[in-house]
Subunit: 662 residues, 2 copies
């Protein structure tokens, strides 16, 4: 790759930060461990990691900017969320509308807008939304700092009365997260004052010596840790830790689903398995990891990593999705991973991404970055339509012929909004902050974790380092990096993640092959870098036939096709007329092609497989030998799972049965 080629590319999304928007403390991005934190890595900011808009990640972010975020803002108005706050401010008479935690949709959208302003400070429409909404929040805030439109206008007497289901601290957490985003990108100190007034009230009420209570829906823990990091105000961190320490003591009561549902059945440091509502569990784990980092609480971090082993060893979908049960939106038993009834809530995927990022910062272990890649590409991305304005709430790995999916609960197509609208603005805030998750730095140099067309900047030993990344990843495995920056004479290390799915790769520096010897998941190139040095990491990307652990009964005898980080699926739309998707069988011995297809120009790589069409007969149960009859050979196409459901509504499956052996 030449400089010429690089300069051919469009400008990065948003452009560099204006000096006026400098962060209060640390990089202008999500999750910035404090100065005393026990963390292996430190993040770059949104001003230091810029995505080019023509790579896949860059296009996702641009679509978020141009479509999803404005769509969220529109819905906050049309669905009544803003009206609720106006009523709470005494400026309207709208009866409370929507879910009792509807404020959190506002806060998440605000957070998304603020991360966007971090790279596009000149976006006047976004700035107006932020200013208007922050001002409204200020007026809706009660004199003592309390801020929650539901408990202000609908049930004022119930304030703080239903900790297990009120979501008051959950909403407070999202307000704080928005304020932290504003603080980090320097875009709205006023919002930070609002959040701090509320946080100070929480410290007063729930802090040491105060009420012993926890929230049925975790979120406040990670938010308070972040607020501490931004402000350096220790009581916020102490309160986060207190909320964690108080868990598992039965404070939440039995509730409707029992204490395991909201992870109140065991003290957090003693937990041995993920349980209950997946989003709650994952937000709680994010908070645990934050507090463990900031306080050096090894037992807390050990517990988090132990629960990671359980979640990712026994209860995670091949897409990275979490939540096997619609009922309670919950984890199942070990190896209970039905593809058709996969819940895979979009928010759980986002929470997993957030949690793995924290574990990556804390430990530097590649498995967390691997997981971020998997869940981003195969569990977050599928939730958004090609147009950026329709969303899945649950993300099944199979939609059957005859599936009745007209409602929200198991929709067969993405919907523009949901009565419980937690997911769309959650997507918006993740996608808006996406560049902040690409890479990290430490005292040895720069680590690149997620691959996309990007420009990365950081300081190593006080000197600026810049790396340009050019790649057609995830469609191709070739990643070209160009190292720039000050004339750094001292050696530093460029670490490039070799994904866990990759079995063969090559590395070259200025055309010279290096020994390909990844250690702990990273190729580490240590040298005195001459400006302009070109590094090429070439990851072998064959089509993989993935099988599940034999205890995953639900997909026995099936394979999932994957290539690079992408999981593929088969859609009815690509089958010959008359073929029923449930009858497709893949011949595991036949070669599988990978490449473009003329009638699917928007997908750079589709897969072509061979197999049979089974002739299943009629009887639901039959006795005797089980050899399947087949009605003939078949060739069929698989498309990336994240793109499913963008054509006509119809059946889909990730796991494809293989032809019976023999």
């Amino acid at each position: 790759m030449t400089e010429q080629k690089l300069s051919d590319k469009p400008a990065p999304v948003g452009g560099a930060m204006e000096p006026a928007l400098s962060a209060l403390r640390g990089p202008a991005g999500p999750v910035v461990p404090g100065p005393g934190a026990v963390a292996a890595l430190r993040p770059l900011g949104l001003d230091q990691a810029l995505l080019h808009p023509d790579g896949l990640l860059g296009r996702w972010r641009r679509r978020n900017t141009e479509e999803t975020l404005p769509h969220c803002v529109d819905n906050l108005y049309s669905k009544g969320n803003i009206g609720n706050l106006q009523a709470a401010a005494g400026e309207g008479d709208q009866p409370f509308t929507g879910m009792w935690f509807a404020d959190s949709d506002v806060h998440k959208t605000l957070e998304a807008a603020l991360w966007e302003l971090g790279t596009s400070p000149g976006d006047t429409r976004l700035k107006e939304f932020v200013d208007t909404t922050a001002a409204l929040l200020a007026r809706a805030q009660q004199p003592d700092g309390y801020l929650n439109s539901y408990f202000t206008i609908a049930e004022p007497d119930a304030r703080w009365r239903r900790p297990n289901w009120s979501h008051e601290l959950y909403c407070a957490g999202h307000l704080i997260q928005a304020a932290v985003a504003g603080g980090r990108v320097g875009a709205h100190p006023g919002l930070l004052s609002i959040a701090r007034r509320f946080a100070d009230l929480l410290v007063e009420r729930f802090g040491p010596g105060g009420v012993e209570e926890v929230c049925g829906h975790p979120e406040i823990e990670t938010a308070l840790a972040e607020l501490y990091r931004l402000t350096g105000h220790r009581p916020y961190l102490d309160l986060a830790r207190r909320f964690l320490d108080l868990r598992g003591r039965g404070l939440l009561g039995e509730g409707r689903f029992g204490p395991r549902y909201y992870q109140d059945h065991v003290p957090v440091r003693e937990a041995r398995e993920v349980t209950g509502h997946a989003v709650r569990q994952l937000y709680l784990l994010a908070g645990m990891t934050d507090v463990a980092m900031e306080t050096g609480d090894r037992a807390m971090l050990d517990a988090a990593e132990r629960l990671w082993d359980d979640a990712f060893g026994t209860r995670t979908y091949v897409t990275g999705a979490h939540g096997s049960r619609h009922r309670e939106e919950a984890y199942g038993d070990p190896y209970e991973l039905p593809p058709d009834r996969a819940y895979g809530e979009t928010c759980a995927a986002i929470a997993s991404f957030h949690w793995n990022w924290r574990l990556l910062l804390a430990t530097g272990r590649a498995r967390y970055a691997d997981e971020m890649e998997r869940v981003l590409h195969n569990a977050v991305a599928p939730a958004v339509s090609a147009d950026g304005r329709h969303f899945f709430y649950s993300n099944p790995l199979q939609s059957r012929t005859g599936h009745e999916g007209s409602g929200e609960e198991a929709a067969s197509r993405r919907l523009p909004w949901y009565s419980c609208a937690c997911c769309p603005p959650n997507i918006a805030r993740l996608m808006a902050s996406l560049p902040g998750y690409l890479a990290t730095a430490d005292h040895t140099g720069l680590q690149v974790h997620l691959y996309g067309d990007a420009s990365l900047t950081t300081t190593v030993a006080g000197r600026t380092v810049r790396v340009a990344v050019r790649t057609a990843y995830p469609w191709q495995g070739r990643i070209e990096l160009s190292v720039h920056g000050d004339d750094v004479q001292a050696p530093w290390t460029l670490a490039l993640r070799v994904p866990g799915w990759c079995e063969a790769y090559t590395v070259s520096v200025d055309g010279e092959q290096m020994p390909a010897s990844a250690r702990d998941g990273y190729v580490r190139l240590t040298r005195e870098w001459t400006p302009g040095t070109r590094v090429v990491l070439d990851l072998d990307m064959p089509v993989r036939q993935v099988r599940a652990h034999p205890r995953v009964d639900a997909v026995r005898g099936c394979v999932a096709l994957a290539r690079g980080p992408l999981v593929y699926c088969v859609e009815q739309a690509d089958l010959p007329s008359g073929a029923v998707l449930e009858d497709v069988r893949l011949d595991p011995a036949a070669p599988i092609t990978a490449g473009p297809r003329a009638d699917l120009p928007h997908i750079p790589v589709v897969l072509g497989a061979r197999g049979l069409l089974a002739d299943p007969g009629d009887a639901l149960y039959t006795a005797g030998a089980g050899r399947e009859r087949t009605s003939g050979p078949l060739t069929f196409t698989a498309v990336p799972y994240f793109l499913w459901g963008n054509r006509s509504e119809g059946p889909m499956r990730v796991w494809v049965p293989v032809t019976t052996a023999g």
Copy 2:
């Protein structure tokens, strides 16, 4: 079999009916089509079909009499159901306790007690419960005939205001069913008056020209049809039909789960698939079949049989259980039949039994009797513990290692009672009336549908016919029948069901082999019967390896073991120490033994299978070839599914993976 042997047996349960307990109209049993009904068969009454207490069915009924029914009565008092009615009668100040439809538990228990009195009229304890409760109901009934303790004491202003969720007509239906039982066995005319006063109120309010409304939980339809049959009062039938005709017009609104949940999305005659809450769907189908029979409504019966094809062709478990989803207690998509998350509500199995009985009476088709046999032995019976005092609400076909089942929703062992206690008294009323489902008669003779040690009596062409049935069924396939009765000179037909699972059988009459030529599922022996004629039907009963339709993804590569009408399962308790149930693989080519086992003396026939123990490895997902490693050969035992969970709590599975071919 000799007469001597027959007389060695204990007396039938209860003994013959006393003359004072003669029925008002028709046989003293459940579901007696009216004189104008379009029905192929007519039932015997509880006075005409007596179960001997040492056969399996007889023991189930005796356990019900001695354990389950008293247990239900005790719980009605201790859980507050009786207290609710006392409060409604102005005789107590108990705030309403339990579910808002708790009255239905009382009514179902009452129905069970009344069926019991049909065969044991001398049971003073039962009679006292019936008299006391009926008197209480009379005092709790409002002046206008309304009777519902919840809407009397807890929400009087909400009476008739929430048709989609109030269960008022559902409760009324169960009151009527109890009264019909009382009427049929002649045990309590006072209760019938209570029910008729309420039913008359319903006719006045909801009948022609009245309020257009239906109930969110069907039951009233079949109850009103039965009340019409008992009383001959046509407005009850007309109202039942009106409730059916008004369905599918959106009267119930969207509710929480949409109109498909309570089968209000389409007019009943146009329905093409079973949907939503399984119990509601099945009770509705029972009501449809009743009304179709009584009115000769062919389109209604066609719809019911069409939905039968859908339910039993695509959405029924191998045990006969219904309901694939915990969420909404609902049917799933076609072929969505997960064993681990099978809901299989006990009430749905009972409802299926009731519905199939109605279809059998209407059409005489053997498939309905086959289904009654399957669901009784494998979906109703498993819900009751060996001691008769513990119950499953949901009936999964698999309980995993690591299953967390301490709550009611997916309990890993039978519980003594439930907060929603619909199932235990429903079991009680079915088991109490069980003899009434064994056989039928028509103008040609007697049909035996369910096999157990029993004495059957009916009239053919005005003359009494008696058949004694002796068998160790379902453990053995030999069924011996001895024909008695008046010196009947005219020929009549004894029809014996040959179960759908049976591929070979012999029939002999007085030792002479008959041609084994079942037609439409029945061996029909037409002759002038000499008293004492002995018939032997010998059903071949090899162990069957049952496979599911290939579209049932959840059990691909597995077989279920069955023998005769019984489905078997493997329990952890029978595995060698250290073996994990999920790793058991069955060798489909190895012979499977069937017989007694010394350490399981209470099970006449256990199965012994051979296979392997898989060594599954650790990774949740792996790429590449999928041949499983095994850690060695294994022999293992399977026990009847209806007996699972009666030893230590532990993993269980019906579907066992087979060893990989080759």
